[in-house]
Symmetry: C2
């Protein structure tokens, strides 16, 4: 069974190596990891970004499930590119799993990026926009989608020292995927 | 035809009013706008976030298309909750449209939120993660998904003074939706 490995991992300096590690963990559990950087892309081509998109879509369409890395990326929330892929896989009826290496509630974390104040019974950011405050790790659409289309978000019991390379929460997702997808 | 109105608009202080305006624009073009805040939710209930999720999913499943507001939200990228919904609608084969009231390239905008430097031929942020640099307004997955599943991202020719209330780009999306969805 094929697992699409989504996440901002592709933006890491050692993006290829982390993909190899994730694929090895999948293989150890009897699954095949499909990692975006496995696609051969000519990054000098004028349509490089469209080639990447097509390659990722083809991988998702060939996958039976997704494991998305929702660790907050360049702000209080998950990487939008990864979240698009999670939504796409949910829409196509595939099995959806995800993890985040930050387990603080979104509202608590938002204060690191914007002034958060209480106003008329709600939390607001510096632009006056409501800060979602349901005690969830990220936006409710992703968190509850995981319950509906797969398994609840996996977070580590303690924040890893290296949130971009610690794969314990990822491996927990792989175990759940194997339990669900591989006939015993 | 029903259009799901996705966006961080629901977090605005005048969220209900902006929804009314969007629905009125849809109606003027012969379409029915479905806005998340039209769902009756008991926000004091312990499962309020799950009620919101279910209401939004029911609206998406009842919609023929989505118009997503991808204006950058609390960081350099679009609101992940909105992006999840765009992905979900793409996955279910619905017609996808979106706009952003910021037309700067992602790589140019990222510098407002993190130190961006050039390193070994790529742009990297303060954590050493690659900053996507294809000249696109946001992550390539959303931008090219719109081309595949609907119409290219709409951006205003000049940045509106009030990026959270200017609906010119939204109305351009409504016009395109009407042209595609309403038989002449």
């Amino acid at each position: 069974m094929n697992i699409y490995l989504a996440g901002p991992d592709v933006f890491l300096p050692d993006a290829i190596e982390i993909g190899r590690q994730k694929a090895a963990i999948c293989a150890a559990h009897g699954l095949t990891g499909l990692y975006p950087l496995d696609n051969a892309i000519d990054l000098t081509a004028s349509d490089a970004s469209r080639q990447i998109f097509r390659g990722n879509v083809a991988m998702m369409d060939a996958a039976d499930a997704i494991i998305a890395n929702l660790t907050p990326f360049r702000g209080p929330g998950a990487d939008p590119g990864t979240v698009y892929e999670l939504g796409y896989m949910a829409g196509t009826g595939k099995f959806c799993l995800a993890y985040s290496n930050e387990d603080a509630a979104y509202a608590d974390r938002a204060g690191r990026f914007t002034d958060v104040t209480a106003e008329d019974g709600r939390l607001v950011d510096a632009q006056g926009l409501t800060v979602e405050d349901f005690g969830l790790v990220d936006n409710l659409m992703m968190i509850h989608a995981l319950e509906l289309h797969g398994c609840p978000l996996v977070t580590p019991s303690t924040r890893p020292v290296d949130i971009w390379h610690d794969l314990a929460a990822f491996e927990a997702c792989v175990r759940m995927a194997a339990a669900r997808l591989i006939a015993t």
